[in-house]
């Protein structure tokens, strides 16, 4: 079965990078758990996790109608009048 994927969303991209950096951190720390290298690797994981969660939140928050109305404020479904 061939899997055809659409262009990955930004959050998917970051997620992939994140799982790579987790693997990397585990690898680096298997030798020495207190080395600067190991600590820096886990710090990178934390930074990527934060970026991934931000990206996920952004995607979740975006309302399809709101997004459409930003570009097309003159359409019937988007018009709002102050009074």
């Amino acid at each position: 079965v061939a899997l055809v994927r659409a262009t990955p969303s930004p959050s998917q991209n970051i997620s992939e990078k994140l799982s790579e950096s987790i693997e990397h951190a585990k690898e680096v720390c298997s030798g020495d758990a207190v080395s600067g290298e190991c600590v820096a690797a886990w710090d990178e994981v934390e930074e990527m996790s934060a970026a991934a969660s931000d990206a996920r939140l952004k995607e979740k928050e975006s309302d399809p109608l709101e997004t459409y109305c930003k570009d097309n404020p003159e359409t019937k479904e988007c018009r709002t009048y102050e009074d």
Partner: protein
Amino acid sequence: MASCTVYTTHSLSSSGTISKTSIGFLHQSPLRPENQIIFCKRTTKRPNSLSTITCSVPEYPKTVVIGLAADSGCGKSTFMRRLTSVFGGDAAPPKGGNPDSNTLISDTTTVICLDDYHSLDRNGRKVKGVTALDPRANDFDLMYTQVKALKEGKAVEKPIYNHVSGLLDPPELIQPPKILVIEGLHPMYDERVRELLDFSIYLDISNEVKFAWKIQRDMAERGHSLESIKASIEARKPDFDAYIDPQKQYADAVIEVLPTQLIPDDNEGKILRVKLVMKEGVKYFSPVYLFDEGSTISWIPCGRKLTCSYPGIKFFYGPDAYFSNEVSILEMDGQFDRLDELIYVESHLSNLSTKFYGEVTQQMLKHVDFPGSNNGTGLFQTIVGLKIRDLYEQIVASRAGATLETAKV
């Protein structure tokens, strides 16, 4: 251009004659050494009531600087959204700039993320074996220079640390705002930067809660497991304890988030005990109190007037010492189920710096979807936001007063 207004009252004169005033005079600003000229336009509304002189003063430093310190993933962004909401208007990234910019701009407030002052990018830190928490990975000279320039009313070209790529992107132009918030890991680390802050806040999340929050945030991610989340927290802890945690002694307000005491052995991190530690004697900042200022009070609002579901709500208020500073502590344990509980609580708190009855509740209601809206984190963040608005208004008023004084001489 800022404008100031001078009112002159004509005392008891029934004739309503108005003496002539000069249309321009020299003005020595206390904040800038050079002389400035104020141009005045005089308008008389009614013959013998008030005459108004409107003066335009060349813009002088008016930026109030607020520092917010917290570890990553500890709710800084939620706090920021609550704060900008108190001032009104939406906060958004700079228009047309770098899509990965960390800056948020609203009408009154500009929020800068201090990660932008990383001196080493992600790869640089990896090579040197240091974390982002390490002062060696940050450029405090540049941080000081730029925050100082913004406070003095000058625009700066601030670098951008791209959290997605881990690289330092080309700088963006930041205009001096009315209120500048610098948020990140080290707003109070460098003494020079600390001196520039008009108010400082530290978000202190206990290890148990931090762990629970990070599980909620990260467990859905592929590759992340309990072990990897734990390992990441453990690895960063020595640097956190050495460089970040000590900053809380300088904070004017600390929000501590702890596991609840209402449920024995709770480690879900869903129900929280939140403490608001407020320093006494800070200019333009008067701590909030419950019932009676300076007493020690334990209060359970649930009873005949208020029904609460399990495990209920418990408040505490009292004076205390914090890093040899005199402080007032307001504590809330538990969570709200319904809105009427919050208005009931708000009506018993004093010194909230609200502009009308129920403003705290209204602010909380605006953002029911934000994390922490049903517990002490949201409540205390909102209160601190109102306190900052009050502080800002007092500082601006006192500066206007000072200008008026010098203008009279």
